[in-house]
Symmetry: C2
Subunit: 85 residues, 2 copies
Amino acid sequence: MKKYKADIIVTLKNGVRDPQGAAVDTVLKRTGVEEQAAVQTGKFFTLSVTGEDEVNAKSKLGIICEEVLSNPVLETYKVERFSEV
Amino acid sequence: MKKYKADIIVTLKNGVRDPQGAAVDTVLKRTGVEEQAAVQTGKFFTLSVTGEDEVNAKSKLGIICEEVLSNPVLETYKVERFSEV
């Protein structure tokens, strides 16, 4: 069994309202820091997955991302880093 | 004025409890997907900053990250991407 570390970024799909991002926008505008920051928020996860090989671990990671870390109706995920440890 | 896009990752400092990560760990263990996923959670932001030049925009971004996007007592941030648009 090999062990891999992965970084996952989960973001809202285009067109899905992002009230947290809008709130940060408002703060930046009101404090005069940035007029149009267009902030988009998301979630970040670091985790370990084990597998026979890279293909096996990646397919397991796909299941984890789709079924636990993100809501595929509203969100998309991106594997930002994937490396053996 | 130049415009830059930045990706920011905010994570908890070492030693700070991560109940959301622990919850995901529990789910992965209970469903038999992964025994020791050691999930760590964080926040992800994409935003635009304007500035006279890169140095100016980066220093503004530092202020935004420290004062709005993260809580420096509990969290650290990392600028994952910074590019002119």
